[in-house]
């Protein structure tokens, strides 16, 4: 058995028991679970293994090394801050589901084999769906349904891949794979769906903004980042990932630019940041993987911070669209400052966390002499200005005064934001604290005069372009068709059409045959059947003939 209590179980059990508790016990149970998980993974040095048997296959349910420890750490912190942000406003169902969701994501990160991984993967999908449903509107119910179908599709793909892998190799241990057979392609597809890679990406921007203000904070952190983690474990150095990463970056910038809904825009920025990590995984050198891991760590924090800030705005004003907001810095100073710090972090401004992590990926591109990749990453840095980096804080907190004067949100929400804002700056100023946790040794130095200056030039002049083109950007704001149009509208129409055609055809054919047979019967025997009896009798007769036909056919086949 196991020398270490499984951190994932701590959170999941806490989540399941939460609805039974009241008052201070409830809060205690909620906040202590992530802390326990954090303590557990940091009190054990080195790697830990824990095995058990299921379906006659040996599983390694707990495999702790530096990479999994990094992700467990950030997920635990995230769970804690998310709960702090949510616990006064969200319902018990949402909190409970969020704990299970966080626990399952820890389970994925700690899984040593793919069956354990898959089990936690599915729990994650279901728990996150409940988080979306907790949005409580009919739109969130529908979006949650589309979300869960998509993720169960990903689950089936992943499962098929794992089984095929097991069939090919006789093992289920989770280690690096190459995309050279069907098994790994299926696994890859399952992973990429959770990473929101196009064209399997629409679920994210479709579902996340329909969750509650606090729900989206949890959603932003776990699903995509666990996908990044498993890709890092399973497919490091797969060149296809570079292409997917760049596609995600470009696609999300375009959509985020067009988007008027603040939370939808931030949803696209999640895809954007995941794209950078996936690019890093595709490059696959030690520096690139370190960069991707570090960026995952810092992006969980600033992404959540941005969404908390946007969530506070939506919570306090009830308005979701950029065009309805503006000038809020006057009455929501804490939210504005925290939002700005998050924006600085996401745009990799020096002294904020994004700067020290994203530049590692760029540097890896340079080291591998990938000019186009480097250029695209630079463009992505500039492009962040166009959504979360400048568009979000500018249009929401400054720009035109909307006349809205909401206060800052309740204290617990403020505290959560302040905590994460401090973390963003702390990592940005003391990058060493993050670098020691990375899977490989780090020699990279982010703060050199020329690097800082280059980044400042890039960002400030992108900002200039933003301000100069603001009228164009605003004219473009609105809602968009994403890939979800294919399955929400197109497939739906096709299915309805097919169903109508098929049922009309079948009914016509049946009526025709029944009338004809009725005629024949009347002629032959003078039997007259009417109504239901006729259709019952004749449909049975038809079925009988089908059976005989089958017999005749197989008889003919056998001859």
């Amino acid at each position: 058995m196991c020398s270490l209590l499984h951190p994932a179980l701590v959170l999941i059990v806490a989540g399941l028991f939460l609805p039974l508790l009241r008052g201070v016990y409830r809060n205690l149970c909620m906040f202590i679970a992530p802390v326990i998980a954090l303590v557990l993974v940091w009190t054990v040095a080195g790697t830990v293994d824990c095995r058990m048997e299921f379906m006659g296959i040996e599983l390694q349910v707990l495999h702790l090394d530096s990479l999994s420890r990094l992700f467990v750490t950030v997920f635990s912190i995230m769970a804690f801050a998310g709960l702090l942000f949510a616990y006064r406003q969200a319902g018990t169902v949402e909190l409970s589901a969020a704990l299970v969701y966080a626990g399952a994501s820890l389970g994925v990160c700690l899984a040593g084999d793919m069956i354990t991984l898959f089990i936690f993967w599915e729990i994650m999908a279901l728990a996150s769906t409940v988080v979306i449903w907790s949005g409580g509107t009919s739109a969130s119910a529908a979006a949650g349904m589309r979300y869960v179908i998509f993720h169960l599709l990903g689950g089936v793909l992943l499962m098929a891949g794992i089984i095929a892998w097991y069939h090919d190799t006789g093992a289920v241990m989770f280690s690096a794979m190459t995309l050279d057979n069907m098994a790994t392609w299926f696994i890859f597809a399952g992973f990429m769906l959770n990473a929101a890679a196009p064209p399997l990406s629409a679920w994210l921007a479709d579902a996340y903004p329909q969750s509650s203000c606090s729900g989206m904070v949890f959603l932003s952190a776990f699903t995509t980042k666990t996908a990044v983690y498993v890709l890092m474990r399973g497919f490091p150095g797969t060149e296809l990932l570079i292409i997917f990463g760049l596609l995600m970056i470009l696609y999300s910038i375009v959509y985020a630019l067009l988007e008027n809904n603040v939370r939808r825009m931030l949803a696209y920025s999640i895809i954007n940041q995941s794209g950078i990590m996936i690019c890093g995984i595709g490059i696959g050198t030690e520096l690139a993987l370190n960069g991707a891991a570090a960026h995952a760590f810092s992006s969980v924090i600033y992404q959540a911070l941005l969404i908390m800030s946007a969530g506070s705005v939506v919570y306090m004003t009830g308005k979701r669209n950029c065009t309805d907001l503006g000038g809020l810095f006057q009455s929501m100073p804490v939210t504005a400052v925290c939002g700005i710090i998050g924006a600085l972090a996401i745009s990799s401004f020096p002294l904020a966390s994004g700067f020290v992590s994203k530049s590692m990926v760029s540097q890896a591109g340079v080291d591998n002499n990938l000019f186009l990749v480097w250029l695209a990453l630079q463009a992505a840095s500039a492009g962040v200005i166009l959504h979360a980096g400048l568009k979000f804080p500018w249009l929401v907190f400054f720009h035109r005064d909307s006349g809205l004067r909401p206060g800052d949100p309740p204290m617990n929400m403020q505290l959560a934001m302040i905590l994460f804002a401090i973390l963003c700056l702390f990592i940005g100023i003391f990058p060493g604290t993050l670098y020691v946790m990375l899977p490989y040794a780090v020699e990279y130095v982010p703060y050199t005069a020329d690097h800082v200056l280059a980044q400042l030039q890039l960002l400030l002049f992108s900002g200039l372009a933003f301000f100069l083109m603001l009228p164009w950007i605003k004219a473009n704001l609105g809602a968009t068709h994403d890939f979800d149009w294919i399955y929400r509208v197109l497939l739906n129409r096709i299915f309805c059409m097919l169903h109508n055609v098929a049922s009309t055809f079948v009914n016509r054919a049946r009526d025709l045959v029944i009338t004809m047979l009725g005629h024949v019967l009347r002629r032959l025997n003078g039997i007259v059947l009417s109504g239901q009896r006729q259709s019952l009798f004749l449909s049975n007769a038809i079925l009988l003939s089908v059976a005989f036909l089958l017999i005749f056919l197989s008889y003919a086949l056998s001859a």
Partner: protein
């Protein structure tokens, strides 16, 4: 001494209890007698499985007339396992039955209901245990005739129509089976199943044999409701009294799938079958159609029992798919899914029965108006649904795992695609129900608050739900017996 006659005791107990039920006449007494018998069968079935797992095969000769002249009961781990499925579902249904039956069936007919249920059980046990081809037909008729009677007791007028339809098709199916058995007798000169299996190897593939096999297979397909011969099933399951749906959904079709497995793998053997017709391909094709068609119809239906019934059509597709692949893993998956699906579907039908007991309806539209009440029933339904769509930690996951493994192993990509699509469609129809449970605001406030279903109904329901989870985690018992059963079948 008694343990030495366990197989025949299992058969005789319900057979004798059936007329006794009629004599007792009082509804509570007849229920109690039936319950005792079902529990006895339950215990006996597990004991039988235990002993068969040790001695492998138990050939019980009736009246000490040696086979092939005498009639024997033939028990190996395969049919002992199927018997355990039937007995367990039966016991759970009987525990559940009392209040549901009292509310749906007129009090002066209740004793007849239990009597018919006992006869049905007798027939099913006979089909499972008998080692004689003609007796198999007789027991099929016993179970079917009592089945028609049970279904016709349903609340709605539709029940009569459904029972009549099932009667016609079921009789046709049984007749086909009888014709097949007759032709087999002509070819081999014996009616003992194992003996047929031995002698058929010497028979060259001639037309009589081919015809016999075709008649048998099509008759069985009708009985086990394989698409496109499934038409009796949806109406029968949705119109039958709730308890009957619970019992039939978990037992009847499984028993006939067992008979199919017995004939194809044990009696005929794959070599004989392959020489006559491409049965594997036909079964895989039909089961793929069954999965798609059943799931689609389940999506467009609007009452719970009807959705569950069509879902059964699809799930039968999964079981037959495993058989049609003609591989060890496929067969394992198929038998495992028989067990798992019995647990899943009976639990879901029980939850539906609880809703009908309190609300008097299972239409989704009406359920929307009563959201918020009966939390335990709804929670049980959701857990059962999780098992249906194969969430890890439930038995449904194991089925999905082994079925996917079987399809991937045999490299049957169309089947794999159909399975993936089918599992997503299952999510859709399951969701339709969950949505009605939890995510709709009541259209009008009825004022009265519905109470939870009585404990006597909730307890067996949750027992099955817990079994869904227990057997989803502890796989030793099921997989061990199935592995033994599969390895005992010839030709794989």
């Amino acid at each position: 001494m008694i343990t030495g006659h366990l197989p025949i005791l299992l058969l005789i107990m319900p057979l004798l209890a059936a007329p006794l039920c009629v004599l007792l006449h009082r509804d509570i007494l007849s229920w109690f007698l039936a319950l005792l018998v079902f529990l006895g069968v339950f215990a006996g079935a597990w004991a039988l499985l235990g002993s068969v797992l040790e001695i492998e095969v138990w050939r019980y000769t009736i009246g000490a007339w040696e086979s092939p002249w005498g009639i024997e009961l033939y028990v190996d781990s395969l049919n002992a396992f199927v018997l355990v499925i039937v007995a367990s579902i039966g016991a759970a249904s009987l525990l559940f039955a009392r209040q549901s039956v009292a509310s749906e069936i007129a009090a002066d007919r209740t004793y007849l209901f239990y009597s018919a249920l006992l006869l049905n059980l007798t027939g099913l046990i006979g089909v499972i245990l008998t080692g004689d081809a003609f007796n198999l037909f007789v027991f099929i008729e016993i179970s079917s005739l009592s089945g028609y009677a049970l279904i016709s007791l349903g609340r709605k007028r539709l029940a009569l129509y459904a029972a009549y339809r099932y009667l016609i098709l079921g009789t046709v199916g049984a007749t086909f089976i009888l014709i097949g058995v007759g032709l087999l007798y002509v070819v081999t000169g014996t009616l003992n199943l194992q003996d047929i299996g031995v002698r058929i190897a010497d028979v060259s593939a001639d037309r009589t044999l081919a015809t016999a096999i075709c008649f048998l297979l099509i008759g069985l397909s009708m009985k086990l409701a394989l698409f496109p011969l499934h038409v009796w099933l949806p109406a029968a399951y949705s119109a039958a009294p709730s308890v009957v749906s619970v019992f039939l959904a978990g037992t009847t079709t499984k028993v006939f799938i067992y008979v199919l497995i017995r004939y194809v793998f044990d009696i005929f053997g794959l070599d004989t079958i392959r020489g006559i017709l491409p049965l594997g391909d036909i079964l895989v094709l039909l089961s793929m159609l069954a999965i798609l068609y059943g799931s689609w119809m389940a999506i467009v239906r609007s009452s719970i029992k009807s959705i569950l019934a069509y879902s059964s059509v699809a799930q039968i597709g999964y079981m037959v798919l495993g058989i049609g692949l003609f591989t060890r893993t496929g067969l394992t998956a198929s038998i495992l899914h028989m067990f798992n699906h019995a647990l899943i579907k009976s639990a879901l039908f029980m939850a539906a029965a609880c809703l009908i007991y309190r609300l008097g309806t299972d239409r989704l539209e009406d359920l929307r108006n009563s959201s918020g009440c009966m939390p335990w029933t709804r929670a049980a339904f959701v857990l059962g649904g999780f098992s249906l769509i194969g969430v890890p930690g439930t038995v449904g996951f194991l089925s999905k795992w082994y079925l996917l493994q079987a399809t991937i192993e045999s490299g049957n990509w169309p089947a794999l695609a159909v399975m993936i699509i089918g599992s997503l469609m299952a999510v859709v129809y399951f969701w339709k129900i969950v949505e009605a449970f939890y995510f709709r605001q009541p259209a009008q406030d009825t004022g009265e608050k519905m109470t939870e279903a009585p404990l006597m109904m909730l307890a067996p329901l949750w027992l099955l739900i817990l079994a869904n989870i227990y057997f989803g985690i502890d796989t030793d018992l099921t997989l061990d017996s199935i592995t033994l059963a599969v390895s005992s079948l010839a030709g794989l």
